[in-house]
Amino acid sequence: MSKGDRILDVRNIHMRFESKGVCVRAVTDVSFPVLEGETIGIVGESGCGKTTLGRCIVRAYEPSEGSVMYTTADGETLDFLKIDRQTMKKYRKEIQMIFQDPYSSLDPRMTVLDIIKEPIRANYPKMPKQEIEKKVMDIAARVGLNTTYLKRYPHAFSGGQRQRIGIARALVLNPRVIVCDEAVSALDVSIQAQVINLLHDLQQEFGLTYLFISHDLSVVEYISDKVGVMYLGKMVEYAPTRTLFSHPMHPYTESLLSAVPVADPTVKIERIPLEGEIPNPANPPSGCFFHTRCRFCREKCKQETPEYIEMEKDHFVACHFARELDLRGFDYGEEPDEENKTGN
C-alpha cells in the first residue's frame, strides 16, 4: 500500500445517544474517504458532533450504524467497527488518538516514562525492558521532550510539553492513522505553532494520516488537505481545503468562514451573521437542519432533507440550492510558486 491509497472509508456513520426516552442524534449519516498520508480537517461549532465522530472512528464509542472500512498495511480491507476483540487488538494500535486537554488526558500519578510506556506494555507484553526503554527514549527525543526529565510526573511539565507527551504516547506504537481531537486548542499561540510544526514534520517522516478535529479554522486551513464542515451532526460540505475556503458551496460554510477573525486590521471582511443559535440536536428542525438560520431558506428547505452529493469533483455538499448560490470565501490571490508550496 502506498501514499494516496484509501486507508479509511467512513461510511454512513450514525451515533445516537438515548437517555430518559430522549434520543440525541449526535452524528447523522456521515461518510467520507481518507487517503493515506493525508490530513482531513473536521470543523464545526461546539455540539456539532465532530468529537463524537472522531471517537466513533477510533471505536471509543460504538456507533449505532455505519462502518469504517480500514485498509491494513498488507492491503486487506476490513470493517473496523465489526471486527472481534482479537482482531481488534491487532489493529487498534494502528489508529491512535491525541486528546484536547493536555492537563486531564495524562494520569497525574504516573511518571511520563510510564505514560509513554503503557501502550507498549499493553500491546507487546513480552518485549524486553531495554527495548521498551529505548523505544520510549527515541520517541520522546523525536517529539522534543528532554529525556532526562522523563522520570518526572506530568504536573512538572508545561501545557506544550504535556501535549508532546500525548503525541509521544500516540506515536510509540507506530500508528498509521492519528485522530487529533482539538490537539492544539488549549495551547498558547507560540506553543501552538511549535506543536503544529511538529505534527507536520512527524507526518512527513512517518507517513502518518491525520484526522484533525478542531473549531479553529485558521489552524485547520493550515494543516489540512481536505476539510469537512459539520453542522448539527451532519456533514454539510466536504472538499479540498483551498476549494472549500475559496469557493464554499454551503451557506453555513460561508457564514463560518466570514466569522473567522483575521490577524490583520487592514483586511475588511463583510460578515454574514448567523442569526440565532444551534438548534437542539434532540429535536432538530425538519428538512434541511440549517434552514432555521439560513439566509437563502426557501419552502423546499423546510420540507425536504437535502442529499449529500458530489456537486463538483471532490466537492460534496448537502444543500438544495448549492449550484444556484454564489457564495463568498477567502481570496487566495495568485497561485503560490511550486517551490514555496512545499515549505521548507
Binding site: G160, N197, Y222, R242, L256, R271, N340, G343
Partner: protein, 344 residues
C-alpha cells in the same frame, strides 16, 4: 486617539504586582505603563501567565489578597477627578462607587460568572439597585431595556429565567447587559469570547462595537487572540512576562511590528488565504517562571536577535520611536541599545 492629555480616562504608572508564595516572591507584573483614552479600545495581548488578567483586575482592586500592587492607577472618576485607585481601600466606599458603576468588567466564562441560584434579571438588577435607583420597578425597567439592547430576544421571559436556561452566547449577552446597565466609562473585557464558538463570537464582537458607539465608553480588551485584536482594537499593547514590550496603534503593530516577541507572535498565527506558502514561525522555548528572574530583558532566553552583553545585563525600557510606537528592545532600530551598543 488624539493623545490629548485631557481625554485620558485611565493611566497606569509603573504598576507592579507581587505574589508571595512559599518559594519567594513572584513578580508577576513588572512595571506597566498604559493609557486609555475616551472612546478608545485598547487591546492587551499576551500568552497565558504574562500578567494581563492580573493587570486588569488590579484596576478594580479585585485581585486575590496575596497579590500586592504597587505604582499608580489613575482614573478620571466622576466627581473626584483623577483618583489613584490603588490608594483607595479595596473594600471602601469610594472604590465601590466606581466598581460596577464607572468601571465594569466582563469575564471569560459566562457560565461561571453568574450565580446559578438567582434569576438573570435578579442579577442584572443588583448593579442597578446599588448604583442607580432604589425603586425595584424602575430597576426592572432599566434592566429589561439593557437586555433588549444587547439583543436578548424575549427579554421579559428571559428576565425570570435562570442561567442554566441560557446558551453560552446568550449568557455572554446577559453578562454584557449586567456590565453596561450603569453606563460605565470603562469596560474591561477579559477574554470575553474565548469560550464561545466563532459564529457566536462574531455576534458578540459586533455587539460590543455597536454598544461602544452608543454608550461612548472605552474598552480594555484582554485577549490572546490576535485575530480578535485586529478586528476590535485601536491601540494594542503586547505583554510579555509582566511587561509591556510593545505598544502602538493596531495598524502599526500588524503592519510594522518591531519587538522580536511581537514578530514571533504574529508569525506563529496562520492567516487564511496563504495556505501552503510557509511554515509557521515558532518562538523556541517557553515563558520562564516569574520567580527570581534574571537581570536583563525577560525575552532574552528566547530571542533570536539578542545582543549578548546588552540584553542580559540591562532591562530595556519602553521607548517612543516617534508617532507613538513604543517598544522595549535594545535590538530594534531607534532604540537606545541599537545606536550605542555597549561594549565590554
Amino acid at each position: 486617539m488624539s493623545g490629548a492629555k485631557d481625554d485620558v480616562i485611565l493611566r497606569m504608572k509603573d504598576l507592579k504586582i507581587n505574589i508571595r508564595v512559599d518559594e519567594g516572591v513572584l513578580t508577576v507584573v513588572r512595571g506597566v505603563d498604559l493609557e486609555i483614552h475616551k472612546g478608545e479600545t485598547v487591546g492587551l495581548v499576551g500568552e497565558s501567565g504574562c500578567g494581563k488578567s492580573l493587570t486588569s483586575k488590579a484596576i478594580l482592586g479585585i485581585n486575590d489578597k496575596k497579590c500586592r500592587a504597587e505604582g499608580q492607577i489613575l482614573f478620571d472618576a466622576e466627581g473626584t477627578g483623577m483618583t489613584d485607585l490603588l490608594s483607595l481601600k479595596p473594600r471602601g466606599r469610594e472604590i465601590r462607587a466606581i466598581r460596577g458603576k464607572q468601571i465594569s468588567m466582563i469575564f471569560q466564562e459566562p457560565m461561571v460568572a453568574f450565580s446559578p441560584m438567582y434569576t438573570i434579571g435578579n442579577q442584572i438588577n443588583e448593579a442597578t439597585l446599588l448604583h442607580i435607583t432604589k425603586d425595584k420597578k424602575k430597576a426592572k425597567e432599566i434592566s429589561l431595556d439593557v437586555m433588549k439592547k444587547v439583543g436578548i430576544a424575549n427579554a421579559e421571559k428571559r428576565y425570570d429565567q435562570y442561567p442554566h436556561e441560557f446558551s453560552g452566547g446568550m449568557l455572554q449577552r446577559a453578562l454584557i447587559a449586567m456590565a453596561l446597565v450603569c453606563n460605565p466609562k470603562l469596560l474591561i473585557a477579559d477574554e470575553p469570547t474565548t469560550a464561545l464558538d466563532v459564529t457566536i463570537q462574531a455576534q458578540i464582537l459586533e455587539l460590543m462595537k455597536t454598544l461602544q458607539k452608543d454608550f461612548g465608553m472605552s474598552i480594555l480588551f484582554i485577549t490572546h487572540d490576535l485575530g480578535i485584536v485586529a478586528r476590535m482594537c485601536d491601540t494594542v499593547a503586547v505583554m510579555y512576562l509582566g511587561r509591556i514590550v510593545e505598544c502602538a496603534s493596531a495598524v502599526e503593530i500588524y503592519g510594522n511590528p518591531m519587538h522580536p516577541y511581537t514578530r514571533g507572535l504574529l508569525g506563529s498565527v496562520h492567516k487564511i488565504g496563504t495556505k501552503g506558502q510557509k511554515r509557521l514561525f515558532s518562538i523556541e522555548g517557553t515563558v520562564p517562571l516569574a520567580l527570581n528572574l534574571p537581570k536583563g530583558c525577560g525575552f532574552y532566553e528566547r530571542c533570536s536577535k539578542r545582543i549578548d552583553g546588552v540584553c542580559n545585563v540591562q532591562d530595556p525600557q519602553l521607548t517612543d520611536l516617534g508617532d507613538g510606537h513604543r517598544v522595549a528592545c535594545f535590538a530594534c532600530a531607534g532604540c537606545p541599545g541599537k545606536e550605542e551598543p555597549v561594549h565590554e
